[in-house]
Symmetry: C2
Subunit: 257 residues, 2 copies
């Protein structure tokens, strides 16, 4: 299995603190050592860093842990390979373009070889069922809407597809187009929203504390979503199995299930 980390904010924010703890789980405090990846939206642009080395050791991961990239939507993934070899093409997150926007997707779970017929608009490059599930969701969106519809129409269809694909196995995922971040829980997913008044937070995976009061303004709002809570002194809310939460501007905008 794998672990997911997502961030959705109302102002560009760096994810160094959360990623520092998360990356330890890739080969140090946990066993997810078959590669990792992280995608940052910056405006309409999106850049991804990934490596097949464990995130606890990778020099690319070291860069990401210490180089503050400010983004309003981030998706990260550390991999414990189940389906698909340890290769770059099987490393999440996956990126495709739809309606002139980049879409980013990372999955935690096992869909047991899920391999639906696809019409060719989106095809998997690697051999994971995760990438095939992502292609399926984008194909359905593309088939349904020639141009980008309302955000709610997108979310309705994503949730419906998530339920359908989720019947094939476990399907926890994060999906973002740089505006919304969809967090869908099948088995394990937690979130918290940090906002005024900010406080200190202490990582679970290593002895690091940050005082968010020192690095924020009263208007900042940051939602963090993760497979397992990342901090020991904050209150994380469990997303229930079958639930799909849509984050926008650092808060829950739509809720399904």
């Amino acid at each position: 299995m794998c672990q997911l980390l997502g961030m959705n904010c109302n102002v560009p924010t760096d994810i160094c603190f959360s990623f520092e703890g998360f990356a330890r789980r890739g080969g140090d405090t946990d066993e997810h050592s078959d590669g990792w990846g992280i995608a940052f939206f910056e405006g309409k642009g999106c850049r991804t860093f990934m490596d097949v080395q464990p995130s606890a050791e990778s020099v690319v991961s070291e860069l990401v842990r210490h180089y503050p990239i400010r983004s309003m939507n981030v998706i990260a993934h550390i991999r414990k390979a189940s389906v698909g070899e340890v290769k770059l093409e099987n490393t999440h997150p996956f990126v495709r373009e739809l309606w002139g926007e980049y879409w980013v997707f990372a999955h935690n779970g096992d869909l047991f070889g899920y391999d639906p017929p696809l019409n060719g608009r989106y095809r998997a490059v690697g051999t994971t069922d995760s990438e095939r599930a992502f292609c399926t969701i984008l194909q359905r969106l593309s088939d349904a809407f020639d141009e980008r519809p309302t955000m709610q129409a997108i979310c309705n269809l994503v949730h419906e597809q998530a339920q359908r694909i989720g019947e094939e196995g476990s399907f926890n995922f994060l999906l973002s187009n740089g505006d919304i971040l969809v967090a869908r829980c099948s088995t394990d997913l937690y979130y918290l929203v940090r906002q005024h008044p900010f406080d200190k937070a202490q990582l679970k995976d290593l002895d690091v504390t940050v005082d968010f009061n020192q690095v924020t303004t009263p208007n900042d709002r940051v939602a963090v979503i993760a497979t397992e809570p990342l901090t020991r002194n904050e209150r994380w809310t469990r997303i229930e199995p079958g639930q799909c939460l849509v984050f926008r501007n650092g808060t829950v905008a739509y809720r399904y299930g």
Copy 2:
């Protein structure tokens, strides 16, 4: 305008030496300081590093200069913005998926607002004519072939499209699917093939020399393509305006024009 750097090899090879010199042109030995990017194919996978900071100063560029990623196809670009703001979404190289393969593209030149009608299969995310030209080429390939045809059929169509789009302005580009690397010249593009017996090479842009004899085997073959020659003591061949060379396994496989 911008500068291009490409590498196509018969064994996975790192590009640190060439990129070290090339990156100096992004804000140090030359004026191309409006961002940069580099894409590495590793198997079917592809990872891209990019930044809107000048490549001579960027910490991401520093990582790429010193972290040897072994790849058989690399495309890099440093940008001097002409069309499109200095934003991540306008930073080359661009990546899309076609026939279950990643395709990577970088352009040097000015197409004067080229904006053809596109059917929606590929859309530009940013505002550069470069990305629109890339989308056009992929759409034509996708329209012509449901499945990947022979390499020659692909190259014929790419060359034909390159000539057509090239009528709109200057259209030097590099394009790769991880197997072939297409180098199309409109105004400036040079290449060399390094093979046995290997020799020393000395960068033009900074005082660095490498003895390839020490880091290669007799079977290695590496083609390097660049807007301007990168070394002072090697013989670079000019690609003539209108020519399109297709590199595979470190040598010219097809030649148009």
